[in-house]
């Protein structure tokens, strides 16, 4: 009874928040509704007894993916009038794509046949005597290890691709190089100077400045001011 009530409660909130994701005007509100939908899906997993999946759903989707979503969406500067202006122009294309997808789904579900044994497994998440986590672990790491490894490989390729696309040394910023800092020796930074009594700085050899390599010019950075790290060595004689 309680389980059933909870199921309908979570399902109802899930469906409503999913509808709000696509219908809310404000993109940040949409992402927040998406998070609510994730939560309710996770609660549904809990109702079904799949506690491990529920927690993983919260950790991965709510804790990581949706944070990045929100991060990006918050920084968008969306002009809503402009968004709505193209509605009529794109309506036929959108409708056509939607219709094709819908028909495809109908075809798939029309030809769907349940295996005769499958009905027995409805809502029986784990074999008796094994906890949920162990059951999933056995399946993934023992029975389907090859598929699991292949999925990992696909993700690795995607990750390498993302890094290759974004990692360029654009020479637009300077970075701290810890190894250069820590490998500096005393005789490179300190010099003992014996100064005659009463002599001015210019008389006793001028100001000593650290020898700093001239950094490479920053691309796309037209500054007229004399700031930066390379400035000090102009005074070096």
């Amino acid at each position: 009874m309680i389980t059933l009530t909870l199921f309908y409660l979570f399902s109802a909130v899930l469906v409503v928040s999913a509808a709000m994701v696509v219908s809310s005007r404000n993109p940040v509100h949409a992402v927040l509704f998406l998070i609510l939908a994730f939560f309710n899906a996770s609660a549904l997993f809990l109702v079904a007894g799949a506690e491990f999946l529920a927690m993983i759903l919260v950790i991965v989707y709510v804790g990581a993916v949706a944070v990045l979503f929100l991060f990006v969406v918050m920084m968008l500067d969306v002009d809503f009038d402009e968004l709505r202006s193209g509605f009529q122009r794109y309506l036929p294309i959108g409708a056509a794509v939607g219709a094709v997808l819908f028909v495809e789904l109908l075809i798939v579900f029309g030809g769907w046949k349940l295996a005769p044994d499958a009905v027995r497994f409805h809502a029986s998440p784990t074999p008796a005597g094994v906890s949920n986590t162990e059951a999933i672990g056995m399946l993934m790491y023992t029975d389907y290890i090859l598929l699991f490894q292949l999925a990992g490989l696909v993700l690795l390729v995607a990750m390498v691709g993302a890094i290759v696309l974004t990692l360029r040394d654009r020479k637009t910023s300077r970075h701290q190089d810890i190894s250069v800092q820590t490998s500096r020796r005393v005789d490179e930074t300190l010099a003992m100077v014996s100064v005659p009594l009463g002599a001015s700085v210019t008389e006793s050899g001028g100001f000593l400045r650290p020898i700093v390599e001239e950094p490479e010019e920053l691309v796309g950075h037209d500054d007229h001011g004399g700031h930066g790290h390379g400035h000090d060595n102009h005074g070096h004689h």
């Binding site: 950790i59 709510v62 990581a64 944070v67 929100l70 991060f71 918050m74």
Partner: protein, 335 residues
Amino acid sequence: MADFFYNTAVGIVILTFLQALALLVPLLIGVAYLTLAERKVLAAIQIRKGPNVVGPFGLLQPFADALKMLMKETIIPSGANRILFLLAPMLTFMLAMLAWAVIPVNDGWAIADINVGILYLFAISSLGVYGIIIAGWASNSKYAFLGALRSAAQMVSYEVSMGFVLVTVLLCVGSLNLTDVVRAQQTVWFCIPLFPMFIVFFISTLAETNRSPFDIPEGESEIVAGFFVEYSAMAFALFFLGEYANMILMSGMTTILFLGGWLGPFGILPQLGVLWFVLKICLCLFFFLWIRGTMPRYRYDQLMRLGWKVFLPLSLGWLVLTAGALMAFGWLPNV
């Protein structure tokens, strides 16, 4: 009577409510006195006296502060998103309380002794970032927004290495249940064989709770007070309480995962379960305050470098090493 509490639906609800109350009331008093302890410890580090006027030794100071917060007016900026603006502090505070449901303060003394306790804690702590992001966005202020962005990047970065540390620990335990984690430390606390992971985890908890030296989301010298710059009165107090409750929670997590939870050192005085647990939490908290009193704030790029280029490879390497050692010497649990 026992039958009513354990076997009827109403009884179970009442019992759970009472249990939650028995845990949360001491926790909130602990939070109140943690704020006092912080001021006292910082004062001692800086050779000052600290609060000593309200009550004997300033012991009533937290309550005076709480009353002051309650009396003030909650100001909502005109450009703010009202609902989200008020939701954010509640969310932060609620999450800090929610996680305590699975913490075992003594053998068998957990409100919900669930099978996936570690994952639950990890999930709840990863949600903490929402309170901050929502607060920063809803305030409609550039400082708050900058603080929120910093905090989102920071908390997501440090979660990754924290996850690997958790995996290392649960490899040694063979269970995701927090009570099992403590029981597995009967012979030796995990802070000894997994010492580097203990350090990585502790530093990650500092970053996760936005504490000094990783308090750049607040960074009062650069972005005023970061994400809660627009908050006042009780809304601010909820953020404040949430942060301190999170500190206690993270110390509790460190205690359970690495310092043997309710177990006494060398197995002495096992009757004092809860007291040992509280003492270890206090030790961790003292380190939090001590670090705040001694370390300068990290720069943003240094923080990212530490998370991604130092902690991530280190924890991943140690995870592989631990798995290899457990396999090679046949120490794997549950085989």
